[in-house]
Amino acid sequence: MISALALISLWLGVIFVLLGALGLARFPDIYNRMQAATKCVTLGVCGIMLGVFLKTGFSALGIKALICALFILVTVPVSSHALARGSLIAGVKLWKGTVKDKFTEDRGGKSIIEEEK
């Protein structure tokens, strides 16, 4: 029972990581890429670590995997938030199909949506 749960969690994590990395390679601009990559990779790596924990139980391996999952769950959203804010301030353009740009509307600046060519 526990072993089947561990296998399901591990494979769900692997599929999530693969699809998130595919999104990182294929999406049109950095904000879309960041959304695909950080969300899917966080959940996927946490699933993999949970699978390792369920497979090995309360051994040195399992406890370290649990600690690593908690650390990744806390830090990856923080770093992606900081990078998104930094790239907005540095003026990286949004994709040309973007509908709304609330950030520059609030700041009253020039829009950073990419021009249609």
């Binding site: 591990l10 494979w11 994590g13 692997v14 990581v17 693969l18 998130g20 990395a21 595919l22 990182l24 390679a25 950095i30 890429r33 960041m34 990559a37 950080t38 990779v41 966080t42 996927g44 790596v45 993999i48 670590m49 390792v52 497979k55 090995t56 051994s59 040195a60 391996l61 370290k64 995997a65 600690i67 690593c68 650390f71 990744i72 830090t75 990856v76 923080v78 770093s79 992606s80 900081a82 990078l83 804010r85 930094g86 790239s87 301030i89 540095a90 990286v92």
Partner: protein
């Protein structure tokens, strides 16, 4: 063994974006994600061979990619590191 082989294309996608990415923020997020994917691969290798000390390397990789991403974000905002 099979999950490790499935995860290698994920790391290659991140590497593609890190080499190709038009802006520096693309490269930063790609390298950050590559560190996290490598920490997952290391955890799977540790599970395969039952070597608990490999998970220390996994935690260290996660810490290093986190600190590197924060430093790059500060650089992108145009502030210095001791600001």
């Amino acid at each position: 063994m099979i999950p490790i082989i499935v995860l290698i294309p994920a790391a290659l996608f991140c590497l593609y974006r890190a080499l190709q990415g038009p802006s520096i923020a693309d490269r930063a997020i790609a390298v950050d994600m590559m560190g996290v994917v490598f920490s997952a691969i290391t955890a799977l290798v540790a599970l395969q061979y039952r070597l608990s000390y490999l998970l220390d390397i996994s935690i260290a990789l996660a810490v290093i990619s986190f600190i590197g991403a924060l430093a790059l974000a500060k650089y992108l905002e145009g502030r210095s590191l001791d600001d």
